[in-house]
Amino acid sequence: MSSAIKLTGFVKRFGSLTAVDGLDLDVPFGQCVGLLGPNGAGKSTTMKALTAQVIGDEGELEVLGYRLPEDSKQARASMGVVPQLDNLDVSLTVEQNLLVFAHLYRVPAAERKAAIERALGIANLAHRRKDKVDKLSGGMRRRLLIVRALLHEPRLVLLDEPTVGLDPQVRQELWALIDRLRSEGVSILMSTHYIEEAERLCDTVTIMSHGKAVAVGSPRALIHEHAGPEAIEVYGSPTRLAELEGVARTRGWSTRRTGTSVSVLHANGDIDLDGERRITNLEDVFVLLTGEEIS
């Protein structure tokens, strides 16, 4: 077995809605894989299936070599889950929250104290250990939520939108924390709709749209393949921009609207347009493939 997570043809329907529609996903050991997609693409449903809180209708799921859903409990014993919604016990202290999860994650009694100290250290919350959670800032709570999932030194960590709703500065702190995990060899699956987050942290990215994987690869390879090395960003009146989009279509260039401008992708020096040349990014790929702007 070479993968921490392997999904083959995973399908999940809710009534007439197909939330996940034949998803293949591979998280090799020691890698950080990003699940990137707009809201409603099926990311959270996929994450929940990995803890058997969602039971699929079709397809094969394997986590840490265990088949799901039947052997999910074994898999959960060696993985840590950071949920999108903060579900800390707010009336308990930082330390009590960690103590409870040291028990739930079955950290042996003799190692419990050390595990809690280590978590407090990683989260930089040792000085707030006696404070109740509802006294903490949003960033501190999120750090606590992350280290709560690391108490048992899991080999695999699931992060569901780890930085959603946080200030940019706090987000960067969390990226440092996640990067540290990655450097320690922990396998990570992270769902996000922040392009920059995926670009910075992930070895490979699966872009999801309407429950399907529409592209898989390293951020660099995806950019190269779908957007080319450079884009030309053209500004102008709405009519001028619409005209340009028409011309681009006839010549087979990809374009995307970038606010008040149109970006022409795959502009590899041979296109002569009045505009600003810029390096392409994962966002170009994302919008091109999902047809959706980022929220």
Partner: protein
């Protein structure tokens, strides 16, 4: 990975999982035990005093007992209902709907069956203690001590486990917290009154007696009273069997419906 695969498959109802969930309850309880203990002990004491002195001044003996003795033992069962079913109903709903606690617990190596069982065991144990309070208060007002009283915490804990499971079942079925009113007014309040707590069932019309006999609270009242004043042999084995059956059925129902709610 071969080594990990060779691990024995984790079974059902594991001690580690039950313990983990109960530790969570215990640590949380350390921050709200005052209010919880207040309502679980003051409520029955007020009932006891109100009925004991209010009714007690009209009737001196009921079904062969002094009225204060009759009510003092009967209210043990009421306490079991109050501190078993209600915390289970509201606690489960709040943890599911507002705190998302179950999401966190089920992401750890804990299954729904273990989650429900551990929470009900914890509430049952707590109820075992709270259930003794009205009996102790009644002793202050003249209830004579007896050896059988030592069994009351165990009976209260068993019935409390059943009621806790029933409360979890109600919460699992509830779409909103307002639907608790139907269960409370439609089922729990009549059960609370027609259980032989404040007046004996045998003076009621036939149909009410029949209904009373399928009320777990009635069996709890009877067996507590007999524990204090003397067991009645087979009759009490019947009461005990009913309480065990009630606990088992409520337990499985709670698990079944919580699974439906938590696993989609």
């Amino acid at each position: 990975m071969a080594a990990a695969r060779a691990q024995p498959r984790l079974g059902r109802l594991e001690r580690a999982a039950l313990q983990g969930v109960m530790v969570r309850e215990l640590v949380n309880y350390s921050s709200f035990w005052r209010s919880s203990t207040f309502s679980s002990t003051v409520d029955p004491t007020i009932y006891l005093l109100a009925f004991g002195f209010g009714f007690g001044s009209l009737v001196s003996r009921v079904a062969g007992y002094d009225y204060i003795d009759f009510v003092g033992t009967g209210i043990v069962a009421t306490t079991v209902l109050f501190s078993g079913a209600f915390p289970a109903m509201y606690g489960t709903f709040v943890k599911y709907e507002f705190q998302h606690t179950y999401d966190a617990i089920l992401a750890a190596p804990v299954d729904t069956e273990e989650l429900v069982t551990a929470e009900a065991l914890w509430i049952g144990a707590r109820t075992g203690v709270y259930g003794c309070v009205p009996m102790l208060v009644a002793m202050v007002f003249g209830l004579d001590p007896s050896w059988g009283m030592l069994l009351v915490p165990l009976i209260a804990a068993l019935a409390g486990f059943g009621w806790a499971c029933f409360g979890i079942f109600i919460a699992a079925r509830a779409k909103g917290i307002e639907s608790f009113s139907y269960w409370q007014s439609g089922l729990l309040t009549p059960m609370f009154l027609v259980a032989g707590t404040f007046f004996p069932l045998n003076q009621l019309p036939q149909w009410a007696q029949v209904l009373g006999n399928v009320n777990p609270l009635f069996h709890c009242v009877e067996i507590v009273r007999h524990a204090v004043f003397g067991f009645e042999g087979w009759e009490d084995i019947g009461h005990l069997a009913f309480l065990i059956a009630f606990a088992l059925v409520a337990w499985r129902l709670a698990i079944r419906f919580m699974e439906r709610k938590l696993i989609v």
